[in-house]
């Protein structure tokens, strides 16, 4: 995921002087992937900041949090509702709020408030797996509009409604029998890359 974020926004092209990126992490697996992404962005010399209001008790995810903290990645204590502040401070937002596992009306607060804010940002959004708030199959009805979508394993049905600039698939690590069983027909990945642009 951070590799595809990087491909979409190579460092020299970022408008702000500092390569700042806001990573918004939800309470479940999608959020945990966001934490891993933030750590790799840091290794790639970006300056990520994390907003992770509802932390998972899962020990694995708690360790991801510690890893980020020890890499000096700041954690915001609140997300400004004033969208202009976000637009001014960051070059892009990584949306790791909700993934394909989210049920329709489950655990939506504080997610609903976050999504309401993200809907109005003018800087590009990179969504992990599913644009947060979208129905996994039907897509969005007035939700966020990401610039970049990184589908994990394989694109979900709602990706058909994705209208942004770039759609990446990160699914190189799927074993062959899983690919066959679900008839995924994945694209060919170039060289040793772990993401491919669709």
């Amino acid at each position: 995921i951070p590799v595809s974020s990087r491909q979409a926004f190579p460092l020299p092209s970022l408008p702000r002087k500092q390569p700042t990126v806001l990573v918004v992490c939800g309470p479940a697996q999608n959020g945990a992937i966001g934490l891993v992404c933030a750590r790799h962005l840091r290794i790639f010399d970006y300056e990520p900041t994390i907003f992770y209001p509802k932390r998972s008790p899962d020990p694995l995810y708690r360790d991801f949090t510690t890893q980020c903290e020890k890499m000096d990645i700041p954690f915001l204590s609140y997300l400004p509702t004033e969208v202009q502040l976000i637009n001014d401070a960051y070059n892009a937002v990584v949306d790791a709020v909700l993934g394909a596992e989210a049920e329709a009306a489950e655990g939506r607060e504080p997610c609903a408030a976050i999504l309401a804010t993200l809907k109005h940002v003018r800087i590009p959004i990179v969504s992990l797996d599913v644009p947060s708030g979208w129905d996994v199959e039907a897509g969005s009805s007035g939700g966020i509009s990401p610039d970049v979508l990184v589908s994990l394993s394989a694109p979900k049905q709602c990706a058909r409604r994705f209208l942004g600039r770039q759609h990446f698939v990160a699914g190189r690590f799927l074993p062959y029998d899983v690919q066959k069983k679900f008839e995924l027909n994945p694209p060919k990945y170039p060289g040793t890359e772990c993401v491919v642009a669709l």
Binding site: P2, V3, R6, Q7, R42, I43, F44, L60, D63, T66, Q67, K70, M71, D72, R172, F173, P175, Y176, D177, G191, T192
Partner: protein
């Protein structure tokens, strides 16, 4: 050893995919035993030998002179590499490892996965599948009894993803979920596990285009226990290239081993160890791009910058 992958045509258009077929074309004439390693590899690899050198980022260009492939950089008199890159002693390497787990809360799984991926990536850069003279890009991965072996299992899995035909030899398997999981992952990817080690060096040369040495790592101390002594003796006699993970197996982690394994490639993980100063092969890569900046500073690793989002850096 298994058939070619289902549905994929044989790379060299041979009608019989059996690797034991003696008439399969190898481009070099004459008894293999008479050819030195250099000649054999040169004939076996595409013209130009080296893979396209994607390790050089623009910002690295001004240091190109210092990073030009040069054996003396790794000779016994070289105390440091490009930009004062440090070579670690065994205690330091162990201390850094411990700190990653206890302070930074990385799991062994996480770092092993990143390490194994680095190894496969480095191999793919230096020995692309198209450069093999065997009918399939066949690779033998020899896994030892500890974490270095685990790195090898991860590496084998990624090599398969990258289009190679890896085969694993894993004689001593720890009774731990981590290693059992990695073994299962390989098996489910149709990676064969040999029941016994090829009896002779010549057989390895015949069947494989590359051997990955994932036997011993930076924790290695003291005498080599069987079956690894015999394995290393055989590996010392093969002519196909060896890629060692982190430390050439059997070498002292700091002093090396003059009469030991002579790998063609070394993938140093996290930072190179002192043994790497005695490495005389063609390719030295750095992998394991997970060291937080604070830890790099604490140990003054002076790691050169990795190119873009690559997980490996070619040092020579």
């Amino acid at each position: 050893m298994g058939a070619p992958p289902r549905g994929r045509p044989c790379l060299r258009a041979c009608s019989v995919p059996s690797r034991a077929e003696p008439s399969r074309s190898r481009r070099m004439p004459g008894p293999r035993a008479l050819l030195g390693l250099g000649l054999l590899v040169a004939a076996g690899v595409r013209a130009g030998g080296r893979c396209p050198n994607r390790g050089w980022d623009r910002s690295w260009d001004r240091d190109r002179e210092r990073c030009r492939p040069h054996r003396a950089m790794h000779g016994p008199n070289a105390g440091s590499g490009p930009r004062g890159l440090r070579f670690l002693g065994q205690d330091e390497a162990q201390a850094i490892d411990q700190e990653l787990f206890t302070e930074y809360k990385f799991s062994v799984d996480q770092l092993m996965e990143l390490a194994g991926l680095s190894c496969a990536t480095a191999i793919a850069k230096a020995y692309p599948p198209s450069s093999f003279t065997t009918s399939q890009p066949a690779v033998l991965v020899v896994c030892g009894p500890g974490n270095n072996g685990g790195d090898g299992l991860v590496c084998a899995r990624h090599l398969k993803m990258f289009g190679y035909q890896p085969t694993v030899y894993y004689p001593k398997r720890p009774n731990k979920p981590l290693f059992e999981g990695l073994t299962t992952q390989c098996q489910k990817m149709d990676i064969p596990f040999l029941p016994e080690f090829p009896a002779e060096a010549a057989l390895i040369d015949e069947l494989y285009g590359l051997v990955v040495d994932a036997i011993f790592g930076f924790s290695f101390k003291g005498a080599v226990r069987e079956p690894f002594g015999s394995i290393l003796s055989t590996l010392e006699r093969i002519t196909v290239p060896i890629a060692s993970i982190d430390i050439p197996s059997g070498w002292d982690v700091e002093k090396g081993k003059a009469d030991g394994l002579q790998p063609d490639m070394l993938i140093s993980l996290t930072a190179p160890k002192k043994a790497a100063m005695h490495f005389a092969g063609r390719y030295h890569f750095l992998g394991g791009r997970f060291v937080p900046a604070a830890l790099q500073e604490k140990y003054t690793l002076n790691l050169p910058p990795y190119p873009e989002t690559d997980c490996v850096l070619q040092l020579t």
